[in-house]
Amino acid sequence: MAEISSRREEASAAEETAGRDVKAAESCLSCRRQFLRRTGWFGVYAALAGMAACLLRFFFPRVLFEASPIFKAGLPENYGVGHVETKYKAEYGVWIVREADGIYALLAVCTHLGCTPVWFEGDDRFKCPCHGSTFTREGVNYEGPAPRPLERLKIDLAEDGQIRIDKRKRFRLEKGEWEDPAAVLRV
């Protein structure tokens, strides 16, 4: 009788401690395990995010084997007033135009969808073969689907006196940038 009752007491005591453990567990699912789990998953997601970032960066090469965006175009004396020079179009995609008040460089990319227009000396116009956009000698669009004028490029004199053009810097008329002194070479 005594053994049975003591066993009953042990069982109920064990139940109580088990009950206390369960209550403690409900407030923090074994805090250590929760911490480890969260840290582990954080590490997994961080690693995946890092890999995704690396994958995205992979598509942007650091070194390009394209023609240099800066090139020299001879001496200003070789350009007559009112002349549109087309010999740099094939390699650099640029026309060089001399007006009475200065020399400027036009980017040979149609502002509609990027085709290469053609200079027609007889019509005094740049015309794009793709969709018929037409530009004046200044580069202003006045016909066809082109929404804005051709872009002018940074132009200055190099140390040796040659005209130097930097294609990386663009100037747009609609933003008033043709007034910028870097957009035209006064000679």
């Binding site: 598509f59 942007f60 090469p61 390009l64 084997f65 394209e66 969808l113 990027g114 085709c115 793709c130 990386r168």
Partner: protein, 257 residues
């Protein structure tokens, strides 16, 4: 001497090698037919049975099936073309000409590939129209419709990237125009709204990533080639698997309402 009661073929069918390969014999009962379909990895991709309305051309137009068939033709002819095509500026156009003139049956492979590509774009639109006409986008098939639209987009992208590969006038200007549209995209394009404010230039925007440079050159050709042959087909296949799976799970091709 052969036993006259059992022929050679019957004896072969009794061998362990044969039984290892063909597990269910040739008994022509319904049960055995289903058993053979279910236990074959290639056949089990199809349902063991289809409903009669599944072959009702007036309802289905069979356009989905034709589109898939064209995709298989494009894959096969595409792989064959890859044996003779170098994806660089010096060779691309000449390789296309070489395939047409000097490779035995090369002109058939090239033309089949081009025709199948154009036709697949047409049939995928017709398939879409059919699904609209028969209301097969309605519950519970809404998700499969979305998957289908994604497949349509991927088909057009495959068409676009493939168009550039011959490096002819059509392809070159097509990719020039397409990527110039990309540079006008908001946020990610350097000429689009919010692009410049976010620091996008011609050397780091989405157009740069698509072309692998600032101009349509050798990098652009190679990237189009990789997207066309591997990148997009892998994604396409994944969505196609889901698309077919969904049709299966919804009880086969949708019948008349």
């Amino acid at each position: 001497m052969d036993d006259k009661k059992t022929s050679v073929s019957e004896k072969v069918q009794e061998t362990q090698v044969f039984k290892s390969v063909f597990r269910h014999g040739f008994e022509d009962t319904v049960r055995n037919r289903v058993l053979k379909v279910m236990s074959n990895v290639f056949l089990h991709l199809h349902p063991a049975r289809i409903a009669l309305h599944g072959i009702k051309i007036r309802h289905t137009w069979c356009m989905g099936g034709i589109t898939f068939f064209l995709f298989l033709i494009l894959t096969l002819t595409g792989v064959l073309l890859m044996f003779y095509y170098h994806p660089d500026k010096a060779n691309a156009y000449n390789d296309m000409k070489y395939l047409e003139h000097d490779v035995p049956f090369g002109i058939i492979m090239r033309n089949m590939h081009r025709w199948a590509a154009h036709l697949m774009v047409i049939t995928v639109w017709l398939h879409m129209f059919r699904v609209v006409m028969t209301g097969s986008y309605r519950a519970p098939r809404e998700f499969n419709w979305v998957v289908g639209v994604v497949l349509l987009t991927l088909t057009l992208l495959l068409s676009f990237t493939g168009y550039l590969l011959p490096d002819d006038q059509l392809g070159f200007w097509a990719v020039t125009v397409g990527t110039n549209m990309a540079r006008a995209t908001p946020v990610v394009g350097h000429e689009g709204p919010l692009g410049e404010e976010l620091g996008m230039t011609a050397y780091n925007d989405v157009r740069f990533a698509l072309l692998g440079g600032s101009e349509v050159g050798g990098n652009a050709l190679l990237r189009a080639y990789v997207w066309h042959c591997i990148g997009i087909p892998v994604v396409f296949t994944l969505f196609l698997i889901v698309h077919f799976w969904r049709v299966r799970k919804d009880g086969g091709i949708s019948g008349p309402l």
